[in-house]
């Protein structure tokens, strides 16, 4: 059962991460006081990992481990939860020019949910594309808190949510082991599997949570020293 879940992170299965899944789990166990997570969702870039079986790691670390995908569309990047064979036959997840509206409609029809991530980010975020294109239909929620965002990006999302009434969730977008769980999503109900996750994401009853700890930097020295 899980209430606090990091809904967005990348393991070594993604081309831009070297983080093993077990290293993430060990780090979360070590940082339990700072980042009280119950689960993670692996959202590998442009693919869905059909092979890996994480049940042994779930038992060993007492964490829910689910799998999803981060795909690329003309409206920016989108997280797809509840990926199944029908979706994988319908879409080539490696295609970086997927049609967002078609993806959202079809994923919903096939039992999943497609949710834009880091919408405040230039080029690959939803907000910039809403300036030039009509809003997407069927979007139920967006990643309001992304652990990799720069100053101002997450703040821009608040206005988007106000305008369109989207649900808000959070994820670390970790590519490094030590970043896992810095942002996450807290659910009102326990999540035990992908089906329950999809149902919860569709209906609401969750909020982003921020576990980042800001360090107080020392007085900087000159780069010459």
């Amino acid at each position: 059962m899980a209430r606090v879940i990091d809904l967005h992170l990348h393991s070594e299965a993604s081309d831009d991460s070297r983080a093993p899944v077990e290293a993430y789990l060990k780090w979360l166990a070590r940082k339990r006081d700072e980042r009280p997570l119950d689960g993670i969702v692996l959202t590998e870039h442009r693919q869905f990992d059909t092979r890996s079986d994480y049940r042994a790691l779930e038992d060993k670390y007492g964490m829910l481990i689910l799998k999803a995908s981060e795909v690329e569309t003309e409206y920016g990047h989108v997280l797809v939860y509840g990926v199944n064979d029908a979706m994988l036959q319908r879409f080539d997840f490696s295609n970086v020019r997927l049609r967002a509206q078609e993806l959202i409609d079809e994923v919903t029809r096939m039992g999943g949910v497609a949710m834009p991530c880091h919408p405040g980010r230039p080029t690959i975020g939803l907000i910039e594309h809403y300036e030039n294109r009509p809003p997407l239909e069927g979007v139920v929620g967006v990643e309001a808190l992304n652990g990799g965002s720069k100053k101002g990006e997450n703040e821009r999302v608040a206005e988007l949510i106000d305008t369109y009434g989207y649900h808000a969730f959070g994820g670390s977008d970790a590519h490094l082991v030590s970043f896992v769980g810095i942002c996450a999503t807290e659910f009102e109900k326990d999540i035990t599997n992908t089906e329950e996750l999809v149902e919860a994401l569709r209906t609401g009853g969750y909020r982003p949570v921020d576990f980042r700890v800001r360090r107080a930097p020392a007085q900087p020295a000159s780069s010459r020293t």
Binding site: R18, H175, V177, P220
Partner: protein
Amino acid sequence: MKTLYFEEVEEGDELPPIDLLLTKDFVRTYAKTAGMDFPRFTDDEGARQEGLPGMIAPGVLSMGLLARLIGEWNQAAQITRIGTTFRSPVLPDCHIHLLGFVTQKDAEQHTAECDIWMENDDGERWVIGTATVLLPTRNS
């Protein structure tokens, strides 16, 4: 700087942070010394003409600074691999912070895997990466 043996390094260890004022003069000097005397690394106006917000630090400079983070943590650590992702241009004349952790150890290879990154005062991570380091052992 000190020497840390494999047996003394633990997963979760923090690399002592380095806080720097990265000056334009330093970046210019580096670029010219490294044979990278291009406007984007030496001149604000020239960089703007290339579509950049101003002069930026060369990527290899950022990698070098992150290697320094490891060297100052453990002078005996031999970097066998370093990889970085440049998430944002590194704009000089600002404070930067070099940070890292030991995330994994390999007892057979006597290596450690480190997360390393550069961030600004707002916590924006401009460069992120990992490094594998070979460590001396007490028995070697």
